[in-house]
């Protein structure tokens, strides 16, 4: 008896799950463009609503904060509300135009625990288009000790809702996240003289599907 290829097994399994749980299999509705071409292309149009997106800022000055500023501009243009759960209180209001702050709810946390509690509340709120959870700058040990159940809880809370959840991390952290982008190219001082739009356009963003491939291989046996 011929053994089906792993990709065929996974495909069959997905079809079976889609037939059995149509609610779960439904594609997220809409998305929030980040106004950064590389990010939007990698995500197929923008941050998917009802899903978590992990943005790994693997190198210093790799552009995580610039993407956040672009998101502020994009949500302001769409007249949507955005929440920033700032795990290490690092957001600098003075570095973005004042007009881009009026629709922002900024939560200045002192510890990752506070950030997770706040994010859990905000994701369920229903009034936000985007909830950005910025965990950069938090103690690595504390982040690595985050139980996986907490991430699954956050994912379940986002599912079915209209909020796009962006998690910014210093290293890959979110288990089984549907979309993970990696910023690993540091900027140079020359970028300081470029227009911010150009800086954002030059960001080195790559989609990381290694964790999904690994999961598929595990499923395929």
């Amino acid at each position: 008896m011929p053994v089906p290829a792993p990709s065929q097994t996974v495909s069959d399994l997905r079809s079976l799950l889609a037939a059995r749980f149509p609610e779960r299999a439904r594609r997220p509705h809409g998305g929030v463009p980040a106004s950064v071409r590389a990010v939007d292309e990698a995500l197929g149009g923008g941050l998917p609503a009802g899903r978590l997106t992990e943005l790994v800022c693997a190198a210093p000055s790799s552009g995580g904060q610039t993407i956040l500023a672009s998101l502020l501009a994009a949500t302001q243009a769409a007249r949507q509300r955005i929440a920033l759960v700032d795990g290490s209180d690092a957001f600098a209001p003075g570095s973005v135009p004042a007009d881009l702050l009026r629709h922002l709810v900024w939560v200045r946390c002192r510890a990752p625990g506070q950030a997770f509690s706040a994010a859990d509340i905000l994701v369920r709120d229903g009034n936000y288009a985007v909830v950005a959870l910025d965990l950069r700058g938090c103690a690595e040990r504390a982040l690595r000790r985050t139980p996986a159940s907490l991430w699954y809880r956050l994912q379940r809370a986002a599912e079915g809702g209209s909020v796009a959840v962006l998690v910014q991390t210093p290293f890959p952290l979110v288990p089984a996240v549907p979309a993970r982008l990696v910023l690993d190219r540091p900027m140079s001082l020359a970028d300081a003289d470029a227009e911010r739009g150009d800086v954002a356009a030059r960001l080195g963003v790559r989609a990381d599907r290694a964790h999904l491939q690994a999961a598929e291989e595990r499923l395929a046996g």
């Binding site: 500023a69 004042a98 009026r102 709810v105 540091p186 001082l189």
Partner: protein
């Protein structure tokens, strides 16, 4: 409908059960007297076979597992305040007539609206643990008769028709009067009022005329109004002290229900809550909560308080609690036609308050840059209800990556070479500098005690990363990373 009477049957028993969660669903009876003379005064429906007047020992044998308790004056006072607070939500003229009974002067109020309010209040007070009965009528006496028969609200518009079938006992005749009237074949109020009042007075005397008036529901009186609450606070003690949040939440809810009702009765809402835990070692833990959306919703308050209490660790057990609500006028707003408002305003403000309870009042909100060039100067304001349209594009576009601040800044030693930073040492950030731009010199507030001055550089490290350095009065530091 000139008057309303709010009554809680078996008030002392319900007040006790309301204050003690361990009595919920169990057979309970209140007893008066001691030893063999102890008698049941009030019994809960679960105490089958037990009725007022029964000896305590007999009650225990008839209903195994019954909890016998003496009356608890403190819980009765609190329940009484809740009842009066409910009265003040109907009218500003309220009389605390008796324990578990208050009379409200409704003259001038809209009857339809008042009846709806009474029903609403009866449901709320029932949820708060007191089965409220409310009656309304032309006189206080008629309202009290209605309250005794209400389930939970009864408004009497046709007094004669309502009174006619009621038993004579409603008018509280003396034993002598009852005997005489029984001899006349009169057993109902309608039967008595069918007789001419003057003739009844001639045969039964002045007391007989008063009885006739009571039977007709005509007896009126001047109410002794009570003062509305001036402070919106509660304080209670735990004996023995508690070390878990469950008993805290139970009592918090009970007292918050009363405070919220008192606020609403006075036309206020709360904009701040102050919670003080009085600890066993005579220290205390105090925390003030600014409610982003002022309100008198107990569930919302408790979610805010709960978010905080779940993370509180105290050195000693909690011996008492003080809860104070700061009154404020209810917010009034009118949204613009094209504003994109909140989908769920209640949830939005409640969640802001819950997060404030976790991170602190001053650490959640919408930032706004302060009117100064001082670095990192901003204020946290109340989030806007609606997202306004974007202003026109700025004349000068933003340049460079966005700054990501280190709070507090990282101290560092900077080695210079040829007038510009060449190496960072001795801090969380070390390494050679590949390129640097600067300095930018800024100073301000020199006319104030908090004058400031800074020399700022941007440096790119050889190991990667662009950082912003600043030299201030405190020395060199890394202000943040350009990201």
């Amino acid at each position: 409908m000139n008057y309303a009477v709010l009554v809680v049957p078996d008030f002392a028993l319900h007040a006790l059960r309301r204050s003690d969660p361990s009595l919920r669903g169990r057979p309970v009876a209140l007893v008066a007297g001691e030893g063999r003379r102890a008698r049941v005064t009030q019994a809960s429906p679960e105490a089958r076979g037990v009725a007022p007047g029964l000896a305590a020992t007999l009650a225990m044998s008839r209903c195994p597992g019954i909890v016998l308790r003496p009356p608890d004056p403190a819980s009765e006072v609190e329940a009484g305040r809740l009842l009066v607070a409910a009265g003040f939500t109907l009218s500003p003229r309220v009389e605390a007539t008796a324990p578990g009974c208050c009379t409200v002067d409704l003259r001038g109020a809209d009857p339809a609206r008042t009846e709806a309010l009474m029903r609403l209040r009866a449901a709320e007070i029932a949820c708060a643990g007191l089965p409220l009965r409310a009656g309304a009528g032309a006189t206080p006496l008629l309202a009290s008769y209605a309250a005794r028969l209400a389930d939970p609200v009864l408004v009497v518009s046709d007094a004669r028709g309502f009174l006619a079938p009621l038993p004579l006992a409603f008018a509280e005749p003396t034993a002598v009067q009852e005997g005489i009237l029984a001899g006349w074949g009169i057993a109902t109020l309608g039967g008595l009022t069918a007789l001419p009042k003057a003739e009844v007075g001639r045969r039964l005397g002045a007391d007989g005329a008063l009885l006739w008036e009571r039977a007709a529901g005509e007896a009126t009186r001047v109410l002794r109004h009570v003062e509305p609450a001036r402070s919106f606070a509660a304080e209670w003690a735990y004996e023995p002290p508690v070390e878990s949040t469950e008993p805290l939440f139970f009592k918090l809810r009970r007292y918050a229900e009363r405070i919220a009702l008192e606020l609403r009765g006075a036309g206020f809402v709360a904009d701040r809550l102050s919670l003080t835990l009085l600890l066993e070692d005579e220290s205390d833990h105090r925390r003030e909560f600014r409610l982003p959306e002022p309100g008198a919703d107990v569930d919302g308050w408790l979610r805010v308080l709960g978010s905080h209490l779940e993370g509180v660790r105290t050195q000693a057990r909690v011996a008492g609690v003080r809860l104070v609500a700061s009154p404020a006028r209810p917010p009034e707003r009118q949204e613009g036609l094209f504003d994109t408002g909140l989908r769920d305003p209640a949830s939005f403000w409640e969640n802001i308050a819950r997060i404030a309870a976790i991170v602190g009042d001053d650490r959640v909100g919408t930032p706004a840059c302060a009117d100064t060039h001082r670095p990192d100067a901003f204020t946290m304001g109340r989030p806007a209800e609606s997202v306004a349209p974007a202003l026109r594009a700025p004349v000068h576009p933003e340049y460079g990556p966005t700054l990501r601040r280190f709070r507090p800044p990282w101290p560092v030693r900077v080695a210079f070479d040829g007038g510009s930073p060449a190496r960072l040492e001795g801090g969380r950030l070390e390494g050679g500098v590949r390129a640097a731009t600067g300095p930018w010199l800024a100073a301000g507030d020199w006319w104030r005690p908090e004058a400031w001055a800074a020399e700022t550089w941007q440096v790119e490290l050889a190991a990667g990363g662009v950082y912003q350095l600043a030299r201030t009065a405190g020395g060199w530091c890394v202000e943040g990373m350009l990201d």
